[in-house]
Amino acid sequence: MRRYSAFAIAREVLRHHQGWERAWAKPEPRKQYDVIIVGAGGHGLATAYYLGKNHGITNVAVLEKGWLGGGNTGRNTTIIRSNYLQDPSAAIYEKARSLYETLSQDLNMNVMFSPRGVMMLAQTEHEVRGYVRTAHANALQGVQTEFIGPERVKELCPIIRIDGPRYPVLGALWQARGGTARHDAVAWGYARACSDMGMHIIQKCEVTGIRTEGGNVTGVETTRGPIGCSKLGLVAAGHSGVLAQMAGFRLPLESVALQALVSEPIKPCMDVVVMANTVHGYMSQSDKGEMVIGGGTDGFNNYTQRGSFHHIEETVRALVETFPMIARLKMLRQWGGIVDVTGDRSPIISPTPVGGLFVNCGWGTGGFKAIPGGGWATAEMIAKGAPGPLAAEFGLNRFREGRFIDESVAAGVAH
């Protein structure tokens, strides 16, 4: 792999950009791999990357039914934060956030990580109490957050109306090292690094069946023929339930549509990410100047990657109330993704009833921020055959045992 650098750009400018090589190879699938990962989104590619980097397993294929990073990885609003309440969540999300800090150097791909700060507004007394508690919990967990007052909110983000008639801003949970990153570049960076290690990334290859023998996985049926493997990782977000059904078990998930939209580009007007959970909306400004907006999920099961229009209306209404200056902005694009939501709003990183078959799913509305940490933990689990310390609490058994990791507050708004 030719490394990207300022020198490489200078060299290619002189050569009329004829020397850039393909970022990742386009191989034909082999008959057998040590590990197959289903789903070439952020978590799937990060799992493959850390299997190679941390555990030396490089005979790996990543199968993708569509195109690389075309699912939720390319559809989210790119927010990165780790201000969760429970210890296991703080551990894995903070691991992910800290890996994001150096991900560009690690992958030799500029993922444009921008730790611009994330604030979650408190607009009711309950939210104030909730976030003060979270700030204390974060202090114990070693995650740097603080509860700030309304004046500081206004100082950090001047376009917020803090004295609105319905829900005045009473404060905010502020994570200064949270922020955003370029979502496509995260997928591309991992894919390029995986391909460089000799892994196969096979796009337009849909898994149609899972082969088992004596309760252990032996391979998958795909639209490009059967492929054997000794270990299989299902990292398919909203479609995890469909794959689990092929393997003969059910997951505690519901797949629903989550929408996002962007406005026309405008001059820089906010340099932080703001989430307003009470009125239900969140917004940040992209480097292109578009206001990136997200809101709530639909209430019903849905696999169409389209959402209902009235949710956009609710989200926009909430944000116009919070940021009156956006009232006359035109919206450019709107899209939807299928998110897999668990009962306790925490992910599942777990072995399954089928031997050699592992799942990474249930990230629901907030998986992008966790990509490096989720991949790290899933790779460790697949390599060693059992979950490591990061993944241990996120097993499927937590539902039977009643050990929920309740993050309904931290995930109070779909994010």
């Binding site: 339930g241 469909v242 997951l251 505690p252 519901e254 019903f300 696999y303 209902s308 229009f309 039977r400």
Partner: protein, 109 residues
Amino acid sequence: MLLITCPNCGVAAEETELHAGGEAHITRFGPEASENDFEDYLFRRENPRGVHFERWRHANGCGKWFHAARCTATLEVFGTYSAQTTEPPREILETIRAKRPAWTWRDLK
């Protein structure tokens, strides 16, 4: 936007009138149930990409619960029926099978 006819009041209700209530026909197990049955009842969901039986409430209408058969991949509604049933009525099953011959649902015959 989804349009679903409420079988209780006969109104073709828009999505904003309705509240989705999750999977229908989930069996509640009694005091002697195994942990596995109870976990199934509480957490494990069919979550199909295809025809789904769901509970809906006509929240901003007659206020009553009903069941609907709907495809989660195309949003096609195959019919609605009373919530006072333990399994889908025959005519709904026939409508679904006429359009989706290979369709199966849990252990429904």
